[in-house]
Structure formats: structure tokens, C-alpha cells
Symmetry: D2
Subunit: 132 residues, 4 copies
């Protein structure tokens, strides 16, 4: 079981802005793409966890932009789980383009019910988050 996953995205024209680079909010979407892949690697499809009535809601997101990403660039996003308990988890991200680091980020999450109330991570999922 791995707590790290690397996703690949190619920059879409829709993701650029008139500065000629990727609009900064889109990096958070790429982090989500890597996080979805990481869930799969941790042993579950995130969409199935939602069907089990456990949502992974973002409580904090940060991104530091070191260098611009441009249209049609091949981007790699590595997501790493850095913390987890039955209420909460956190991830780090490293975003690179052609081997050069262009951004780093973090997200923090809580588990919520579909009614958006905090819930404990069910036993079924605990081992996948490295919890007993």
C-alpha cells in the first residue's frame, strides 16, 4: 500500500489565462486529480467512499507558485499523505514540469457525512489510511 501517487496532466487551453500561463486556481484541480489517484493506490475508489456516505471535504488548501505552467505542458503532480486519523487527513503535493519543480501545495481535509456533518472514518477504510 502506497501513500504517494504521481498523476500526469497536460495543460488545457481552458486552464490558461490572458497572462499566457495557467490560472493559479487550476493547480488545486490538479492536486485533486493526484489525490483521486492516490485514493485508488491506497486501496479504494474515492467515488465508492462517497457511496459509503463518507466525503473528504477540503478545510484548507495552499499553493506556492515557483514558475509558470503553460498550455500543452506535461505536468506531473505527486500527492503524498502526510497525516491521518479517524477525523482528518492531510496531503502534500509537488508539481513539476520537465523535471523542474513549479509549485508545491498542501491540503487538509475532514470526513463528512452527505449532510456535511463530521463523521469518523469507518473501520472499513481505516487500514487504507494506515490506521488501526
Amino acid at each position: 500500500m502506497a501513500y504517494q501517487h504521481t498523476a500526469h496532466v497536460r495543460v488545457r487551453y481552458a486552464e490558461t489565462d490572458q497572462m499566457g500561463v495557467v490560472y493559479h486556481a487550476n493547480y488545486l484541480v490538479w492536486m485533486e486529480v493526484a489525490r483521486t489517484g492516490l485514493c485508488t493506490e491506497m486501496g479504494f475508489r474515492y467515488k465508492d467512499m462517497e457511496k459509503d456516505k463518507v466525503l473528504l471535504a477540503v478545510t484548507e488548501a495552499t499553493c506556492r507558485y515557483l514558475s509558470a505552467a503553460k498550455y500543452d505542458d506535461e505536468i506531473t503532480v505527486t500527492a503524498t499523505m502526510t497525516e491521518a486519523n479517524r477525523r482528518f487527513c492531510a496531503f502534500d503535493y509537488e508539481i513539476t514540469c520537465d523535471g523542474r519543480k513549479i509549485a508545491t501545495g498542501q491540503t487538509r481535509h475532514i470526513f463528512l457525512s452527505p449532510e456535511l456533518r463530521p463523521v469518523r472514518l469507518p473501520d472499513k477504510y481505516a487500514p487504507m489510511f494506515g490506521l488501526s
Copy 2:
């Protein structure tokens, strides 16, 4: 009861692309903004119709682009209901900037249940769509 509504949006930086103009898919979002306002003018909040388990799903969308919209432009979007029955409705859109027509569009919709099955528009809403 009006079947026409004009909404105003100011172009966001996020909506531009590296061509220096608004990315074309965002016009469909502006149409949705005007459609939401039109629902209010027709006598209901669209979010309440969803709570009543009736969704207005898009089955077709078209946009013709006549002239570019740019960052910080003041855009007006006029939505007009052009057809409606208990299963289906359709809207026309005219998008202008500084009095100049920059795009026209159409959307067609069906009424769906939250399970995404076709439903008849409930009696409660029929008069608001001009139906008896």
C-alpha cells in the same frame, strides 16, 4: 410574469485564456446565470425546484461567437424562454457588451428526477412556465 431576464456579469480574469479573450465555454456559464435569474422572474427559485426533485438538465447547447469579450468587460446576457411543455423547455440568449451583440445562444432542457429519469413538470410549476 416575464419570460425574459437580463443578467449582468463582469468578466473575471479566470474566464480569460491565453488568446487574451474569454474562453468560449464560459459563455455557457453566463447563460446559466441569466437562466437562474429568469427562473426567479418566472416565480420560483431554481434551487427550490431541485428541492422539489425536479432538475432542469441541459440536452443541447449552442453558442455563436460574433466578437470577443475581454477581462473586466461588463457583459449583459438576456435569456428568453422560447418553448415549454411538461417534459421540455428551451431558451434563447443574447449576449452584449457595451451595446454591441457579441454572441447568441440556445439551450434545450428536459425535466429530470434526482435519479436522472425524465419527469413531468409538477402542477405547482406549470403556470410559472405558462402552462395550464
Copy 3:
């Protein structure tokens, strides 16, 4: 030289809306992803054509939605060039999910200068569009 290209996208959480399906405007973004891939298959990178001061601006876009796409679905988008001359070109799209057709679309485009004035497609690119 092919005038058809099939791209693969996995539905992002960001692309869904509260109906639980992909927000309709995002299909136009997927068409753009397939169109970018088609340009590569036609013999050029679209970003290089922009560096050569030729922009492919959308003048019309249509999408017909047959069935919903959902989060984490694997989507295929096939773009086919249907018309081209020195001023204009057009593409058809077929979007499928698990072998089932979920949408079809068309876009029409004109060639523009970076100042957004119509230009003739340069000789260099004509053969790639099947033009002499």
C-alpha cells in the same frame, strides 16, 4: 496524415456539479482537448501555430447531451475535421463512456491574427489541413 483523433479524459471532481454529473460546459473543454490532439496528428502543435501568429478562434460550438458523465468516468472524445479552407475550419466530436455515446458536438473556427483580425492560413500549414 489523419484528420481524426481520439483523446481520453478521466472526469475530475471539479467538473461535476450538484446534479451529480458533469457540468455541461465542460464538454466543450474536452472537445478542445481532442482538438489539440488532432492538431498534433495533423502535423503541428497548436501552440506553435499560435507562435506563428495564427489563432484558431471558435465561432460556433454546439453540444447535444445524450446521457450523463459522472466523476471518475473514463471518457473518450473523438474529433474529426469536417471542413477546411484558408479562412475557416470545422470539427465534429463524438463523446463516449464505456462504449456508450453520451454526447455529440460541432465547432466552427476562423483563423485570426493575435490582434484578432481574420487571416488566411499560411502556406506552411495548408497541407496539414489537406489544402493545396
Copy 4:
């Protein structure tokens, strides 16, 4: 001259996700809307500063999410300039809905040339940032 501006946005359907709330990356777009308004209040249109070849590029963005925003909610976003010198500036954001604080955020920026190289803020703009 004010270094604070409050913008109002109504949540668009496009901004929601299948959790039934606003997708978290869109808060960064709302911050940008408030920042654009703040520039105007500081005495310049940001689009004119770009014409003067000075871009305000994001180097860091953070958002803490306290409570969900939903479709059709009326959101207020207050942007406050917290730091500025000739190379750099920073903003704080408070996002509320019906008087309730739903998120806070920060962004940090550097001034760039259109070629994306760091530049000093020109004298013309210095007083507008409270600099002499």
C-alpha cells in the same frame, strides 16, 4: 484611497460540485474578483496596469474553509491589502455568507513583466499602493 474592498458574488451552478457545495478552488476566483475591485478602489484598473506591462502574478494562495457555500448563495468577499513594496504585495480575504464567515484566505504576489520577469512597480503606481 482605500486598501479594502468588498465584492459581491452569487454562487453559480457551474461553481458547485457533486458534494452539493462550491468546489473549493472557486474561492480563489472570488478572491480575484475582490482583488480586481480593490485595484479600482486603489485608483487604477488592473487591466490598465497590464497594458502598462506590469502583471500581478500570484506566488502563494491559501484558503481556509469554515463552512460550505451553496448554489445561489449571496457571497461577500472583502479583500484587504496587507503588505506592499516595489517588488511584492499581499492581500487578506474574508468570505461571508448571510453575515457568517465561511472562509478566510491570503494571496501573495510579485510584479512581473509580460515576459514573466520580476519588475519594480513603476512610480506611476507607487502612490496607489501607498508607496512613495
